[in-house]
Subunit: 136 residues, 2 copies
């Protein structure tokens, strides 16, 4: 029997679902400081990028490219940061973060800097709705 | 005329060359705190992953997977961190960092934490030699 994909409960708690693409579940971080997506390949027991089969890897980087381009446009960003860290949550997940020159982290990465500021409920609903339209 | 690839001088100053793979130049950061590689696609004027053509993207993620697996083995690491940031040096480059549970950054990312500690000359020569053998 093939093991079933199940989203890590910590990722689920910190995010809202935007959409499912062929490989990845697309999530938005509930952190109003940055437009910040998480892509999670819907495959069981993946930790490192090299755990994915070659076809899935090619699909992953195409979905990273698509998410990066669309997020950059949607957020009017200057630069996209991409990261696969997994120091806290081992399930393979890719951060896609829209950065602006004047954002709170400056030239530094955003991970581990300061604390998340959750969206107000109606703002999260609006962001998810806009991203779902832009990303489907 | 096709624009020629030229390694950003800041990346060149902070690294030593390990080898060239079909797409990327493989560099090692001159920072003895972490086993830390940089992959630079040898294409001119690339900033974001979505600037690469689809075939180059597929090659890039295969080279990321190969570098991650080999670095994890070589460094006896617990986890690999992968990042494409570009907040300081815009030329597209991918960090591949071997992490251990007891390393100085703990669960945090390594970027922007503390200052680099350069290898002694003979140590850098040894590291480059070992990596070149493991990565060619």
């Amino acid at each position: 029997m093939t093991a079933l994909f199940r989203l890590d409960p910590r990722l689920a708690a910190d995010t809202a679902v935007v959409t499912d693409w062929p490989l990845c579940r697309v999530l938005v971080m509930n952190d109003s400081r940055y437009p910040w997506l998480i892509l999670v390949p819907r495959r069981a027991n993946m930790i490192e990028i090299f755990d994915l089969e070659q076809g899935d890897r090619a699909e992953l980087i195409d979905e990273i490219a698509k998410a990066s381009a669309r997020l950059k446009t949607w957020a009017h960003a200057d630069k996209i940061n991409v990261g696969a860290l997994g120091n806290v949550v081992p399930q393979l997940h890719i951060h896609i973060v829209a950065r602006k020159r004047d954002d709170p982290a400056g030239a530094a990465p955003i991970w581990g800097v300061g604390d998340p500021i959750k969206y107000a409920d109606q703002d999260l609903t609006r962001v998810v709705s806009e991203l779902t339209a832009a990303f489907k």
